[in-house]
Each structure stands twice: as structure tokens, then as C-alpha cells.
């Protein structure tokens, strides 16, 4: 695990744009994301389906290269990584947990084997590797099924094992894509506890995609992606709109549906601590 420098962000996205090109059609998944995750941060990526959450996660994992903008993960500029150095980044600094429990694991391999499979290239020492594996399995409560094939574990056990696998190399950043969506509440809680424990014990930063506000609120920050942009951010129970670098602000849906429907003309009125928006009333101004 790389040494963590308090001042250095683990993730820094700067005007990140991602465009998929398929059969002559272009789909813009991300439209200028600015995001910084500092060491020890736990960030929930929220937002509707298709908003670009998973795309952002793949970019952070080095599985994609951004179309434009800059993304730096654990001090390495993802834009410049080739497949080998991207693999090295994932091996040493980034752990990934996928939504589907089965997809995180080698079904034919034992729980121990799965952890060691993820671990071995980074930790060639066999004894140390076994020790670390045992610790991890113990930590995720799977010591008793250490030698059971992953394919025969329950969904919750599989996802806890997936977290153990992702944490095998003590990553600085843990990326999780809806890790609890296919689990019952109890299993989901157990998985979240594990992730939080890794954050607290090892200082692992966490970026987690989720649709579940409860899960999101259990983390230190929430970042809501809408239409490929960071629309809002929440910290300590407070939600904030994020002003993008072109000055646009994504209003919450309930505001759009009630007070300021699309097409409404508004006036921005500066206030001492910000700005207030007023719906324009051409017949007579009215406060929004």
C-alpha cells in the first residue's frame, strides 16, 4: 500500500468527459465532472440510472480512459496509463467490488483461494499471504467457510468475500458498484460495516455507487450525478447544489417539478452569502 499523504487527494477529477461511440452514434456519459476525494473520505455516488455513476467508477478503476478532462487516482494520471500500468494501479492501490456477487469471485475457487488469487501478485510471500488471507476472512466473518468453494456460498457471504478480495492488497481506494443492491438488509448492513471498518482501520478511501439513499447517507459524502454532471453533494446531512465550471446548477427534481419548471425565466439576485433565484414575472416581479 502506498503511503498516504494527508494533503494529496486520492481521487481528483477535473472536467472529466466521457463519450461512448457505438455504431456511429455518440453517447455522452459524463459532461465535465469535477470531483476530489481526499484520503479517508467515503463517497456515495448517487443518481438515476444512466446518469454516469458506473462510468465514473470505471474511469477511477482505470478500466476506461476519459475522452476529455483529467483524472488522477492515487497520484497517477489515468489518462496516461497503459493497460499494464492500469493493472498495476488496481493491483496495488485500488480495490473493486462489483454489484453481482458471483462476478466478483472465481466460483471454482475456495474463499481462501479467491483472496490469495487477488493478493498473490502483490504479495509474493506465501506465509505472509496466508496470514493476511486468514485475517481478512476472519474480519469478514468467513473463517469457517474459508475452504468452501465461492460458488457454494450464499449471496451475502459471496459479497463479503468480494469485499475481502478487494481489500486483499490494502488498497488506498475502494471502488464499489452497488455492492448491496442484490442483498437482503442484514447482509447489506454487514457488507457496509466491512467497508466502513476498512475505511476506519486502514484509512481506505471509498467511492461507492448506490441507489439506496440510506446506504448513501451512511457514508461521509454523497455526490449526486445527473445527466453526466455532478448535480449535488451532501455532507453531514446537508445537501448542496454544485456550481459547474460553466456556471450551471442542477436544481433538485422536486424544485423543477413544482417551483421552477423547465422553461421558467429566473433572476439571480446576489445575497451576502450567495445568490437567490427569482422567477421572472414580466407583469410584476415575484420571489421564487
Amino acid at each position: 500500500m502506498s503511503a498516504t499523504v494527508e494533503s494529496e487527494p486520492v481521487v481528483h477529477c477535473d472536467g472529466l468527459v466521457q463519450v461512448y461511440g457505438t455504431l456511429g452514434q455518440e453517447v455522452t456519459a459524463l459532461r465535465g465532472i469535477d470531483l476530489t476525494v481526499t484520503a479517508g473520505d467515503t463517497v456515495a455516488l448517487l443518481g438515476p440510472s444512466g446518469a454516469g455513476k458506473s462510468t465514473l467508477l470505471w474511469l477511477l478503476a482505470g478500466l476506461l480512459k476519459p475522452t476529455a478532462g483529467r483524472v488522477v487516482v492515487c497520484g497517477r494520471r489515468v489518462n496516461d496509463l497503459n493497460s499494464r500500468s492500469a493493472a498495476a494501479l488496481r493491483l496495488h492501490d485500488v480495490g473493486v467490488v462489483l454489484q453481482n456477487p458471483g462476478r466478483n469471485l472465481l466460483a471454482n475457487e475456495t474463499a481462501t483461494g479467491n483472496v490469495m488469487f487477488a493478493q498473490r501478485p502483490a504479495h509474493p510471500g506465501r506465509a505472509a499471504s496466508r496470514r493476511r488471507t486468514a485475517e481478512l476472512l476472519d474480519a469478514v466473518g468467513l473463517a469457517r467457510v474459508a475452504h468452501r468453494r465461492a460458488g457454494r456460498l450464499s449471496g451475502g457471504e459471496q459479497q463479503r468475500l468480494a469485499v475481502a478480495v478487494a481489500l486483499a492488497n490494502r488498497p488506498r481506494l475502494l471502488l464499489a458498484d452497488e455492492p448491496t443492491s442484490q442483498l437482503d438488509r442484514g447482509s447489506a448492513t454487514a457488507v457496509l460495516d466491512l467497508i466502513r471498518a476498512a475505511n476506519q482501520d486502514q484509512g481506505t478511501s471509498v467511492v461507492m455507487v448506490t441507489h439506496d439513499p440510506v446506504v448513501g447517507n451512511s457514508l461521509s459524502r454523497t455526490v449526486t450525478i445527473r445527466d453526466g454532471r455532478v448535480g449535488a453533494e451532501g455532507q453531514a446531512g446537508q445537501d448542496y447544489l454544485v456550481v459547474s465550471r460553466d456556471g450551471s446548477v442542477q436544481l433538485p427534481t422536486e424544485v423543477l417539478e413544482t417551483t421552477l419548471p423547465p422553461g421558467t425565466l429566473v433572476q439571480a439576485v446576489p445575497t451576502p452569502d450567495g445568490v437567490s433565484l427569482h422567477r421572472a414575472n414580466l407583469e410584476g416581479d415575484e420571489r421564487a
Partner: protein, 1020 residues
Amino acid sequence: MTGTSWLRGLAQRAGTTTIIFIVALVAVAAAAAGPIYYSAARTSILRDTIATQPVSGRGYEVNETGSLATLLGQLPPTQQQRLNTALGGLARDKLFGPPVYSLEGSLPLPLYESTIPLVYRSAVCPHLRINGRCPTASGQVVVSQSTAKLTGWHVGQQLHFPGEMPLTVTGIYQVPNPNADYWFGNDPGSASQSSNANKDKSPLQNLYTARSTITNGPATFQGTALVDVVLNVDRVTGGQVNQLKAAMTAFSQDPALADAQILVNTAIPATLSSVTSGWTSLAIPILLITLQLLALCLLLLFLAVTDAVEGRGAEIALAKLRGRGSWATAVFGLSEPIILLALALPTGVLAGWGATAILSHLLLRAGTPVDLAGLAWGAAVAATLGGLAAAALAAQRTLRRPVLEEWRRSGLRITSRGWVADAVLATFSLAGLLELYISGQVSSAKPGTLILLVPGLLGLTVAVIASRLLPVGCRAAYGRTGRGGSLGTFLAIRHVARRPSGVRAVMVLVTAIGLTTFAVSAWSVGDQNQQRVAATEVGAPTVLTVSAPSGQDLGTVVAHADPSGHQAAAVESYTSTSSSNAGLTVLAVDPRQFADVATWTSRPGQPSLKDLATQLAPSAPAPIVLNGSAFRISLQAEKVNPAGASLSADVTTGSSPVSLGAVPAKGTVTLTGQLVGCPCVLQDLDLGPPTSQLGSPVSGTITITGMQEYRGGHWVTAGPQQALTSARYWRPGHQDDPPDSIQPGSGGLSWSFNSRNFQDAILTSVNRPYPLPAVVSSALVSPGQTQATGAGLDGTALGLKVIARAVAVPGAPANGVIVDRRYAELAAGQNSTPTTVQQVWLAGPAQHAIEGRLEAAGVSVLSSSTTDQLAATFARQGPALSSVLFLADAAAATLLAAGAAILDLYLSARRRRYEYAALSASGVPFRTLRRAVRTELALLLGFGTVIGVIIGAVAALVTLRSVPEFLTAPPAAVVSYVPPVLPLVVMLVVAVAVLTIAAAAASSTLIRGVSLDQLRETPT
């Protein structure tokens, strides 16, 4: 990843694991089997060739002339030392049998104005049948039975020769088997060709004596020492041939031996040279056949590994996600195929060795060693490396695929990239076919080994196209199946159209079935033609070369041995050596019996041999047979010029001509001559000018009033009573101008003649058709030709009336003439050449019984040849051996391809269990799902089988004429290139049965495994 996890992975993917292992195993086995089989077949051909050579072709004889007392002390060690020097390392292999030493001299025999050979031959007594005892001490001899009969010598008698020590006769010998290798091709009765004792050929046969008789004899006793050595056939192997050939050439030309006046005679180098042509006919086909099977196996391996690696796509993506580098991911993805290939290397070599040993045991000469040569390991390693390359090629797409792309894939599709690969494959195949056509391999009827590539290339080309057309056809049927009808068919049609596994299965199946159909056709046609050619070349199921008891007619003996008259035929065979018709073989036969036993090949519309039998032996006047001790003729002369012309009678045996006396110009006279050695047949009466007027023409008329022979103390009429009253019994000996007139009358036979200068007037006794009716090989006469000149049993030219042109004369297909034996003997004047061979041709069933009866009747059976033996010999020659290998390899390929295709389809369908589970959940009955799977399998396998059979049959019809079947081309009319239907039907039935059973089992297993629980899993 732990070691046991590999095993778990292999077990988890048992189907794919099994097919990859089997395909890899067969690929390695095929690669190893090629060199092993070639090595064994080379040795088999070598030994067969050596074994069928005359002894001089498989041994050597060394001789030295000088003082017999000392020769045998010097020659054996000298020749052995020079031979060992020439052989070098081969000397240790003990390739030659024990030497036979001889000392040959000759003793004068003034009483007979001749000499008699005195011979010592080592260990001779076991090779003689001695009435008495073996000569073991100095001065003892054994005498041949014929010499004893001629000379009256008997056991115990002391023989005295001028200037020599007396010899005591200890026994009278016969030679039970003069053809035994021990005699080294020499007549056991007379001294060897190279011996001085042979220079003045003696009518008296060898006296065999003990060595000491000669070595203790006077130093002045001159003669020849010989060493005869025969190759030990069962010790020679293919790998020794070049070295042995060079060694024997060097030995036969050894200057040290030449300087010592020691001569070496051997035809071993020539024999070994002839062997290599047989090898050539084997080497390239084996290479091509092996490469085709190997290529098919590697293609199957490629497809199987593609499937296996695709099946592990999610795991490979996971490895990448966990930060494994490219190399580590490749090792991870290919670990299972690599393990299987590593396991397949030793097991494949052993399997190839075992399979080849079985095949060799069935096909090759008994006792042929099947060695695991280094080349086999080399080929196996090459095949394994090829397998690794195929596996790497198969996996590279999956290994290079980005993680996200792998996750987003929803299943395999027939891609445009696949089209490109197929187009390249088809283009290469077509280019190969075109090259073969342009080079004349396909268009020419001349056999060529490269033709064996055609079925594979053609099959592959059509397989690529057909496999692509099937989905197109299925897509065209979308509408029809969508509008109504069975849901099973609806599903099956769409799966065939959409899934690449179907394309792969069809491609593999078409190629393999096509190859097998061709191989079955080639093998069955080859087998059929081997039987036909063997039957025609031998002439009958069994042909015995015999020696009839002296003075007995072979036909009569055979008739007694075969009372049915349908199982045996007496034949006299003479092969001409004269320059005008060298190689022509005259078969003098008893036509009726011959027609029953001989193998007759005829074109449609041609008469059978039975039909021809009566034409071969039309009736003719009976011969005038003379049995007495004297012959006299009474005649009346009229205007005979010159007066005193000399009349003689030509008879067939004994002292001929028989001088009868002078014929006056006019008047009646009875002329008498002595007959010696008769019974004999009167051939003609010859009237020549008196000695004083040699060369003058002879003219006049004589009327023969009586012909008599002196027999039993009386003069009796010679020949048939009608001989002087019918013109049928006589014809002019020459075509003179004016022609001779022969007029029978009450007073006798009137013969008017007017010969040319230097020609006698000849009145020929007619006792046979003239010219002699004959069935002639079509190669010897042109269509419509009615007369030809052949050779008689006496070696002279013989006029023939062509009654039929045979596409293949039995026993002498391209150069044979069949005539009536009785007439041929009369034409030869019962004076057959020594090279005329007596034979008995036998039909199959009664062979042993008749052979026993013949031997009981005193007939010596010198050798025998059978159709089955010759067919077996053909079957052990290069072309046939390669044909069987092709069949075995193609059968293995088909089983492999069928298994791979079914498993591929099964695995492909298994990945659709989620879909089937969903359909089941929505109310589709299991039987409909089962029907869908079965229809899909039937469509793919049936299509592949039908197209494969068609392609194989087309390839067979187009190319079989050019596929080598024999080392030397047989007569075209004897062979047929139309494949027998039965083997093809059997192959088709077996293939369909295997495919049907396997498909039914696969579909049932598949549908049984569908459960609603699978809906909880992620669709793959």
C-alpha cells in the same frame, strides 16, 4: 490460484476438458503415429520385397578357383573380414544367416566320355533324402537317383576314377526341395554356375562327399570354393537399407577381393534399390494423411479452446480487474489447455504407438517391429507446439478483450470477422485445389500422391461455404416458422441462425464426414482392385507349379485328381525370350477345365471364357501316332524330279527326322526307317533332293498307298484308317506356285508338288487347327485383327487365329495368349522348351484335396501362388498401406469431429439454460424445449452429414482414378473406380446412428438440467 483449483476447474468444465484432451491426444497420437507407421511399413515392405526375391537378390555368393585342398581354409575368413569392413557398424546386427561352404571339382568318367562333379557342401545331408547314409568320412559319396539309374551305381559300390582315390557309395539321394535357400538358386544336381565343374556340363549329377575327401585329396585337384550367404530377412529394418546397400556394393566391388581373384556375386543392392520405390509411394501419402488429420485436430482444438476460453471470459475479466498483467492473464486463461496439452503429449505418443502397433499387426508383415522412433517424439512435440499455437490463437481474442467489453457481451454472434477468417480459409483451399488442377494432379489419370490433398481441401472449402449458408437458409425460414407451427422448430431455426457454435459444428462435420466418405471409397475401391488384379495376375484362386511324373501327360493326371472336371486345369506356360515377342506368355490349357477355374475379365457384350472354350479347341484330325520301332511307307512315284529324292519323316520325339530312303522318278516302292524313342507323332513327310543335287527344287507326284509301323512283331497300319483317304489329314508344307495338290483316292493319297529352290517338298500331317485358335491380350492385337504370330511351346513362332481379344488374359494380363494345350503340344512337336512351366490351376474350394491327390499321383509341387497371397502382398505395399491409414485417420477424425460437434452444441445450448428456464416459467412445456434442441441438433448434424457425404463422394469420383493403388499400373480394364455401395452405406448408417444416439443423449441431458432455480442466476 492453487494447484487444486486447476483440477477443480478442469472437473467443473468436464465436457470441454474432455474434448480438449481427446482432441489434443488424437492430434499428438496422429503426429506420432505417422513416423511410427512409416518406419514399420518401410520395414514391412523391405522384408516383403526381400522375401520374394530369388535367393541371389537377397544373398551373396563368393567364389574362388584354385587348389581345392586349401581354398576352404582361406576363403571364408577372408570374405567375412572384407564383408565386416564394408558393413561397418551393421556387422554387429547379424543381418546374414549362417554361410554355406562348397568345394566343387569334377572327376573324369571315360566310360561316359564325360565328367561328374564331386561336391562338398556344408551340412548337405539334412537337405537330401538319402537312401543309405550320409557321407561323413573321407572317400564316401552319395549318388543322385538319376545318376544311379543311368550308371547302375549302388550303395556299397566302390567307384574308381583315373588318378583319384576310390570313392564308396554310401547312399542314393534325391533333393526334396531344390528351391530351398540352402541351394542358393543352383541346381542341386549340378555344379553351380560359377563353378569350373560346370564348364563342361555333365549329364551326370553331383556326387556329394565329406569335406575331408576333397581337402585330403591331391593338391593338384583344382576346382572352386564357394560361400553362399542369405540375408536374414527378419533382422533387416528400413533404417539399415542405405547403409546396407552401400556396403554390399562396396563388398561386391572390393578391390582386395578382386586382386585375390575372389568374385562376389550379389543382387542385394538392386533389391534394395527396388525397395525404395515402394517407400516413396508410402512416404508422401503418410505425410499428407497425417497432416490432414493433424490440421483437422488443430482446427478442432482451436474451436474447443476458443469455446473453453470464451467460457472463462468472466474469470479472465476478473483476473484483469484484480490487476493481473497481460502475461499473467494469458497464463491464467490458458492454464487449463496448457495442462491438457502437456498431459496429451506422453499419452498421445503412447496412444499413437499402441494404435500403430495394432494397425501394423493387422496390416504389415508378421514380425515387423513397431518402434517408437525419435522422429515420432519430434512430431508429437511439434503437434503439441501446434496445439499451443492454436490454443493461443483461439484465446487471444478473449484475452485481449477489455474488461468492460467482456461484461457487456450478451452472447456470441456470427461476426463479420469470422467471415473474413472463413473467406481466407476458403481462398487458401481453393488455391490449393487450383494448383493441383493446374499441375495436372487432378486432371491427369496418372496416379500422384498429392491428389490425397484434394478431399481435404475440397471438404474444407465446401464446409466453409455450407456452414455459412445454413444460417442464411434458416434466417430465410424465419417468416414461415414465425407465422405458425411448432414452437420447437421456431426456436431451433433461430438458434441455428444466430449461434456460431452451429457454424463451427457444421464446418467440422462436413470436413470430417467428407474425408471419411472419401477414405471409405478409396479403401473399398483399392481393396476391390487389389482382389481383381491379384485374381487376374495369378489367373486362378490357386496356381501350382508342378512337375508331372516322367512320361505322363499332366492333363491326364489332373483329370484323375479332379474327377468333377471343374476344379482343376492343367496348364503349360511358356514365356518367350525371343527378341520378336519377348515377354509374351503362352498358356496352353485344357479349355473346358480352364474356363471353370480361371479368372476371366470381360467387357460388357464380350463372350465368356466358357463360350470361347469350344472355339479354342475345334475338332481336328487325329494325330498319326507312331508307337512301333520302325515306320514304312508304300508309294507310287510319278515324274519325280530329281530322281532319287530323299524321303524322310519328321516325328515329334526320338531321332527325327527318320530317313526312309530314295524315291525313284517313277515306280512303286516301299521305304522303311527306324523309330527311336517313340511313341511319337508324325509331323510331316519331307522330300528333298538327293545329296548330290542339294538346293534343287523337287517336283512330281507320289501316291501314298500305305503307312505302317512295326509293332509287336507285326507291321500294322500307322495312324487312323482314314489318313490316306481324306484330304483333311494333310496339307502342303509350303505355299508353292503352282500350289501342291493333295487328292485322296481309292488307290491312296496323291500328292503333287513343285517346290522352290532350296526348299524341300513337305506334306504336313494335319492334326490341329491351322492357324491355332487363340485368345490374345488386347494389348497385343488391334481391334479387328484376326491373325497374329505368337510363340509355341517349343519357342518357335506360331501362327494364331485370334478368336477373342481379352482385356486381361488370366495369369498374363497384358501379354498373354491362351491356346489349346493338346494342339500347342502338337504344334511344338512335343518338344517344349526347358523353360516351359507345368502348372495346375485350381478353383478355391478343392485346392487341398486335389493337391494331395496330385502329390499321391507322383506330381511334384514345386511352388504355389494364390490370389489371396498376391492380394495380401498388394495390401502390404505402399499405396494400400497409405489407403488404410487414411481410412483409420479419417474414421478417427469423424468420431472426433462428431463428438466435438455434439459437445460444442451441447455446451452452447447449456449456456442457454437460463433462456430455457425462462421459457419453461412462461409455460412452454419441456417436451417442446426438448424438441427444439433435438430439431436444432438434427438440422446441424444432418446438414453436415449430408453435405459431407456428397462432398466425399464427389471427391472420390473425381480423384480416385489418380489415387495410387499399386506400385506398377495394372491393366486399365481390370480395375474399376466406382466405389462399392455397401461400405458407403455401412459408413453412413454407423455415422447417422452414432450422431443420433449422441444427439438424443445430449438433448435429454440438457433439458433434464433445466430448472426454474436457474432464473435466480445471472444470464450468461
